[in-house]
Symmetry: C2
Subunit: 196 residues, 2 copies
DNA sequence: GTTAGCATGTAAGGAGTTACATGATTTT
DNA sequence: AAAATCATGTAACTCCTTACATGCTAAC
C-alpha cells in the first residue's frame, strides 16, 4: 500500500504518457490494447499509480486549453514532467532481471524505441538465457520421468516446451537483427568476436 | 494471510499427493518440473499451504515404516486423506474461469487424467473462448492504430497474436480429440449437432 | 573440515485484483 | 427516460515472493 505501485505499471504509464498526454480511463484502454496478449491492468491499480506518480512530481495535470469553453470538468489529463522523462530513461536503462522476467519483458520491449541499442541487446539476451535455463530444467526433469507420465501431462509438457522454444527462436532473430543494425552504424568495430 | 492459500497451489499440491506421498522439498521440485514452463512456486508459499491443508484435515503426515530404524527424523512426508481426495475431486469438477485463466489452466490441465470427460471439454472450450476474446480485442485495437505504431511495438503485437493463435489451434485439436473419444465411448448419441 | 545441497519454516511486504461507490455523458 | 459507456476513485483482500533463520547430511 506504500507509494511504489510496481515498477512495471509505472514504466507502462510513463512510457505511454511520453507519446501523448492521456487521462486514466483511456490510458488503461491503450495499455490493454498494447499489452493485451501478455497482461491486463485494472483501474484499481492504475488510479493509485497515477496518484503516486503525481505526488512524486513525475506527471502533472494538463490544463485544458482555455479556448475550449467546455463545462465538462471531469477528465483529468496527465502529461509527463521533466522529472518523469528522467525517471522513464532511468527505468529504460536498467538491463536486469526486472527487465526480462515474464511480467516485465513485454512492457520493456514495447518501449524499445526509447531504449539504447546496447541495453536492448542485453535485455534480449537476458530473456533468452532465462528461457534457456527453464528449458534445461524441464527437459532434464522430463528425461527422468517421461515414461511415468500420463498423456495429458506429456501433451502439456510438449506444448510448453514448443512455446518456449519458439520464443527463443524469435529472440535469436531479434538479436541477430540488432547486431546487424549496430554493426552498420559503427562499421569500424570488429563483429566476429562478439558472440556469446 | 488467512487459511485459503490459493486454489491453484492447493490443487497442485492435492493433485501431486494423489499420485504419491511426498515431503515438501521434493513436492516443490516436482511441481516446478511439471509446471516449470508456466509458473514456479517458492517454499514461502508451499510450506504455509501444506500447514493449512494439514490443519483442514485434507492431508496427513505419513508415519515412516517402523522397520526402518532410521535416525533421520527430518523429512515430513504427507499423504492425501479421504477428505483430501473429496476436495480434489471438487476442485477438478469446477469448470469456470478459475479453471481456464492463465494462472490456473496449466494446473487444471496437468490433472486432466482425474477429471471427467465433460468437464475437460468445458474447460478447453472456456479457455479457447477466453483467448478468442483477447484476440478480437487486440486485433480491433490494432486495426485502428497500426500505422501509428513503431516497429518494436508492431513486432511485439505480431508475436503476441501468433502465440495466442497457436494456442487456439492447439486447443482446437485437443477439443476435436476429446469429442472423438467421447463419441466412441457412447456411439448411440448423435454428434452432428454438438457444434457451436 | 568445509562447502554444497537437502529440508523446514516464518515475517514482512510487494503487486495487483475485486467489489464497491459515485456521477457525467452519450446512445437508443 | 432508460441503458450503456465514460470516468474516477477507495478498501479490503489475494496470492505469492524475498529475505531471513535454522539445522542436518553428503561429498570433496
Amino acid at each position: 500500500m506504500a507509494g511504489g505501485q510496481g515498477r512495471v505499471l509505472e514504466l507502462a504509464v510513463l512510457g505511454s504518457l511520453h507519446e501523448t498526454p492521456l487521462h486514466g480511463y483511456e490510458l488503461r484502454k491503450r495499455l490493454n490494447a498494447l499489452l493485451g496478449m501478455f497482461r491486463a491492468f485494472s483501474y484499481g491499480s492504475l488510479y493509485p499509480c497515477l496518484r503516486s506518480l503525481l505526488a512524486r512530481g513525475l506527471i502533472a495535470e494538463e490544463q485544458p486549453a482555455p479556448n475550449a469553453i467546455v463545462g465538462g470538468r471531469s477528465k483529468i489529463v496527465y502529461k509527463l514532467t521533466a522529472e518523469g522523462k528522467e525517471r522513464l530513461q532511468e527505468l529504460l536503462t536498467q538491463a536486469g532481471p526486472s527487465a526480462w522476467e515474464d511480467e516485465s519483458f513485454g512492457v520493456h520491449f514495447a518501449f524499445f524505441r526509447h531504449t539504447e541499442a546496447e541495453v536492448r541487446l542485453r535485455i534480449l539476451e537476458g530473456r533468452r538465457s532465462r528461457l534457456e535455463e527453464r528449458l534445461d530444467a524441464v527437459r532434464t526433469a522430463l528425461a527422468r520421468t517421461a515414461e511415468r507420465l500420463d498423456s495429458y501431462t506429456l501433451e502439456l509438457q510438449r506444448h510448453g516446451l514448443e512455446s518456449v522454444e519458439r520464443e527463443v527462436r524469435w529472440l535469436n532473430e531479434l538479436i541477430a537483427t540488432e547486431r546487424r543494425a549496430s554493426a552498420e552504424e559503427r562499421p569500424e568495430r570488429d563483429t566476429t568476436s562478439t558472440d556469446e
